[in-house]
């Protein structure tokens, strides 16, 4: 099933829409001009994942240095702050746990998700 999201010009870079589809909705994100769609349900404890902040994450540097990486590509659940890769829907700490992702298409100026 193809679900209409909005006209392409209404989803500016850095913005998101949550559409009614699937279980609890689907979040559609415009990250630097690329579109991603994820289920709005956190596989950890059922939180509204797509209402979380899109941010970066940490990586170990040399010694005890901590590096800030992947800015704008990590979605954090608003309940317990579990981190998800915006492109794959996989959690960063337990990559076998993931939220569902959907393909996004643009046709005649409208964004659709394939459910």
């Amino acid at each position: 099933v193809r679900v209409a999201v909005c006209p392409v010009e209404e989803l500016a870079v850095g913005s998101r829409r949550i559409v009614t589809a699937g279980e609890g909705g689907i979040g559609v994100f415009n990250v630097d001009g690329k579109l991603y769609a994820l289920a709005n349900r956190c596989p950890h404890a059922g939180g509204p994942l797509c209402r979380g902040v899109l941010t970066g994450t940490t990586e170990p540097g040399t010694g005890h240095e901590v590096r800030w990486v992947r800015e704008g590509r990590v979605l954090r659940c608003p309940w317990h702050s579990w981190e998800f890769d915006i492109a794959t829907g996989r959690t960063l700490t337990k990559p076998t746990v993931a939220t569902k992702t959907f393909s996004v298409v643009v046709e005649d100026g409208t964004i659709y998700v394939e459910v």
Binding site: A45, G46, G47, R51, P78, W79, S81
Partner: protein, 371 residues
Amino acid sequence: MARAATDGAAVERKATTVVDTDVHVLPRSAEELLEYVPEPWRSRSDTQFLGAGVYVPPVGLMRKDGFPPEGPPGSDPDFLCRQLLGESGIDLALLIPLVIRPQANPEHEAALASGLNGWQEATWLTRYNGHGRFFGSIIACPRQPELAVREIERWAGHPLMKQVVLVPSVYQPFGEPHFRPVFEAAVRHGLPVALHMHSRLGMFGLTPVGFPSYYFDMRSFHSNVFAAHLTSMVFGGLFEDLPDLRVAIVEGGYIWALPLMWRLDRNWEDLRSEVPHLRRRPSEYLREQVWFTTQPFERPRDPDGYLQTLDWLSADRRLMFATDYPHWDGDYLPNDIVRGMPDAMRERVLAGNALELYGLPHEYEASGTVA
């Protein structure tokens, strides 16, 4: 079940199927609380409120969708009702206000605790409680036992004050004799005593091997704080001398209590002569007199081992559901937490155990409650 209301219309009554034993409400501002605090304490500038001097988790203290249009999370009754009673499906909520932090001066802390109780009673238990689904806690400062007893006496008999809450951030374990009058006062008035973790900075962050560097360490050590208190309470004879004492461990984990009981029993077999005042095995006091809340829930991966563990711990008699609303680490879907438990245990964990421990109503008026 329905009954006739005074205007002739039927009032629908709903059975209590989910009790939340750990809900944190806040005043809209510090000023709102301080109105209830007498001088000279009201004007003290060193008062530590929620958010001040706290080891805040790196991801923040609150769930991100828990902020009402105005004021902090947990301060807006309509917003709280919608999220907690509505979306999470909670029937009755036991409030544990954690607005004030442990203060350096125990008389100061006792005065703030007293103000907090007055504020809680006037707002959440009265003005915001038209539906009657909120129940309260008497907050007392255990480091000043005399004032703690006075505060318990002040509220004892209030129909909505269902327990005494002590912050376990003290300099000595609760089995020490000078804490005894606080527990005796609770028992005298038939009130359970809940121990709920609070911010732990400075000396209160002490672990058996020193002070933690990370929030992660600190949080992981909450269970050890409770284990140390319970051990002291058993061997100090608190449970033996006060057989009606009922203690709830809130937000401190659960599964750890099992190996603790095994170890205490083993040690008692070897060392009983040091504590001849104990007439029963240590685990028997813990099994009979201590309750636990679920959040943050630990779930081992092996479902059979998990059920066996819950059974060994008598979860069907002693485990109570809690969300910890509106905190970042809350468990907001009751059915997820009891998933995999046998039906009878589920019902006991979601409601039955808390109804019994706190004497809460088995049904309530469902009309005019939550949008």
